[in-house]
C-alpha cells in the first residue's frame, strides 16, 4: 500500500528533472507494489494451506502439525458427493459454453448487423446479479415450466454465466489477421471445412483452451445462480456455503481449500504449458 501512494504522489511533482528521475523509480516502485499485491492476493490461500495442518485449528499461533483435518475431509461423504457433482456440472457446462462462445466469437471476424446488440446481450449475462438471475431461473424453470429441481437444471444458468467471459477472452485472444489468412486460403480455393481445419482452428486453439479453462473455473465456483435450482443436489460451493454459515469456519474447509488450490495449480500449469507450447 505504501508503494501505491508514493507512485501516485510522484506524478503530481512538476519539475521535469524530478519527473525524469522519478520515472526511473516508478518502475522499481511498481515492482515493489506488484510483489506486495501478489502476496496479498495469495494471503488467504497461504493461510488456508498453513492452518489446514494446524492441530490447534484456525487460530494463530501454530500448536502442532497434523493431517487430521484431511482425514476428516476425505471421510466426509457429503463433501465428496458435492465435489463430484460440481465437477460433472462444470464439465458439461464447459463443453456447451466453449462451443457456443467459439462460434459467437468467430462471427466477430466480420462486421455484421447486431454485433453490438449481441455483445450487450452477452454482457447482460454478466451484469445480472446472481441472486436476481437465480430467482428468475427458478421461477421460470421450476415453477412455470415444471422441471424438477436437480443438478442438471443448473446447466443452462451456468452456461449463461460462463459464455460472456469466454467470448471476451476469445475476442481478446484471436489473432488480428485471422480473417485475412482465411481469406487468402479462400482465394486459393480451399473449401469452408478445410479453411476451418487448416487455417482457423490451429490459430485459435490455444485461446479456445484458455476460454474453456476459464469457463470451467467459473462454473465450478458458482453458487448463487444455481442455489435455488439444484434442490438437494448441492454443488461444492453451495455445500461449503451451507457448512460455513451453519458452523462458521471449520478446519476441514481449510483442508478442502488447500486441496482445491493444489489441484487447480497443477491443472492451470498443464493448460498454460499447452498454450505456450502450441503458440510457438
Amino acid at each position: 500500500m505504501a508503494a501505491e501512494t508514493t507512485t501516485r504522489s510522484s506524478t503530481s511533482n512538476d519539475s521535469l528533472l524530478a519527473r525524469l528521475s522519478e520515472a526511473l523509480n516508478v518502475r522499481r516502485l511498481l515492482v515493489v507494489f506488484v510483489s506486495f499485491m501478489i502476496l496479498y492476493i495469495y494471503a488467504p490461500i497461504l493461510s488456508l494451506i498453513a492452518f489446514s495442518f494446524n492441530s490447534g485449528g484456525l487460530t494463530f499461533p501454530f500448536v502442532g502439525f497434523t493431517t487430521e483435518w484431511y482425514t476428516i475431509l476425505f471421510e466426509n461423504q457429503t463433501i465428496i458427493d458435492a465435489t463430484v457433482r460440481s465437477l460433472q456440472l462444470a464439465l458439461v457446462v464447459t463443453v456447451i459454453a466453449t462451443v457456443l462462445s467459439t462460434a459467437a466469437a468467430l462471427a466477430y471476424r466480420y462486421d455484421f448487423w447486431g454485433q453490438r446488440g449481441l455483445l450487450y446481450l452477452l454482457i447482460l449475462g454478466i451484469i445480472t446479479p446472481g441472486i436476481t438471475y437465480g430467482v428468475g431461473a427458478s421461477l421460470t424453470l421450476s415453477d412455470l415450466a415444471g422441471f424438477e429441481s436437480g443438478l442438471w437444471l443448473a446447466t443452462p444458468v451456468h452456461v449463461v454465466w460462463t459464455v460472456p467471459f469466454a467470448v471476451i477472452i476469445l475476442l481478446a485472444g484471436f489473432p488480428r489477421n485471422l480473417a485475412e489468412n482465411e481469406q487468402a486460403a479462400r482465394v486459393m480455393g480451399a473449401s469452408r471445412w478445410v479453411r476451418f481445419r487448416e487455417i482457423v482452428l490451429p490459430q485459435i486453439a490455444p485461446t479456445v483452451l484458455g476460454a474453456a479453462v476459464f469457463a470451467f473455473t467459473l462454473s465450478y465456483n458458482e453458487a448463487t445462480r444455481g442455489l435455488l435450482l439444484v434442490g438437494q443436489d448441492n454443488t461444492l460451493p453451495i455445500q461449503i456455503f451451507a457448512v460455513a454459515t451453519g458452523t462458521r469456519a471449520t478446519p476441514e474447509l481449510f483442508a478442502l481449500g488447500a486441496v482445491t488450490t493444489v489441484f487447480s495449480t497443477v491443472l492451470l500449469t498443464v493448460a498454460g504449458g499447452i498454450i505456450f507450447y502450441s503458440s510457438r
Binding site: 487460530t59 454485433q115 431461473a137 471476451i168 481469406q183
Partner: protein, 295 residues
Amino acid sequence: MSTVEKLLPGDRDISLSEIHALTGPTVLWFLVFLLVPLSVVFVYSFLSYESFSVVWEFTLDPYTETVLSDTIISATVLTVGIGLVVTVITLLFGYPIAYFLRFSLSEKAGILLLLFLVIPFWTSGVVRTLGWLPILGQTGVINKVLLWIGVIDQPLEVLLYSPLAMAIGYLQNYVVFMASPIYISLSQIDEDLLDASETLRGNPVETFRHVTLPLSLPGVAIGCMFTFVLTIGNFSVPNFLSGGQGTITTLIYSSVNRGLRYPDAAAMSIMLLLLIFIFVYALLRTVDITKIAQG
C-alpha cells in the same frame, strides 16, 4: 475496416448465413434462458403474496411496502455505496498491476504472471474469504505480529468484522478481475503511438495521460463493470467479514429462503438490476467498450 468489404463478389450472402449459424445458438440460448427468466422476475414483482404462496393478482405492494421500506432503502444505499467504493479502490490497485504486466514484462511473462494470479480464484470464494479469519482475527497473524513488535499494546478490533475487513476481502476478490481487461486494453495499444509521443518530446507522465490512459479506457470500463456488479452480488464477504450488515443481495436470498416471498424478492431484484443498468449505462455513455473486441 470492414472485413466483409474485402470479400469476393457474391461472398456477402455466404458470410451472412455463416454469421447466423455462428451466433444463432448463443442468441437463442440467451433469449430462452436469460431474457425469459428476467421477464418472469419482472412479472412476479407485481404479484400478491399470501401465506407462503404467490397469488396471481396485480399489486404494487412489493414495491410500495417492501422496496420503499426504510430497511430496504438503507440496505440498498449501503450496497451501492460498497459497490462504488470497492470499484474505485480496486481500480486504484488494479491499474498498476495491469500496467506492470504490460510494460515491465515480456508478453509471455505477462500472461504467465496473470495466469499465476488467477490460481487463487480456483478455490471457492467462501473458503477464500474464510482464509482471512486466522490472519485478521483478534488472535490472528497481523495482531500477534504487531503486538510482538510493540506497535500496539492490545489487539486491533478493526481488522475483522468491520468495513476494513470487507474492503480487504472485496479487493482480494476483484483486483485480478479489474487488472485483466485493463491488461488486454493495454496490450492492444500500438507501440508506435508510444514511440511517437516520445519522439514529440512527451515525457512519461504526458505519454501516460494523453496516450496510454485514454486508450486503456475500454478495459477500465469493463473492469469497473465486473467489479461493481460482482461486489454487489457477493455473498461471502458480507456474510463472513462484515459486522453483520446485510446487503440487498443477502436480503433477497433470505426473503426467498424464509417463506418463499417471491414477489418481494422479485421486486428487490428488479430494483437492483435497475441500479446496475444505470451504472453500466453511465459507463457505456463515456466509454465505447466494443473497441476491445475490435483490436
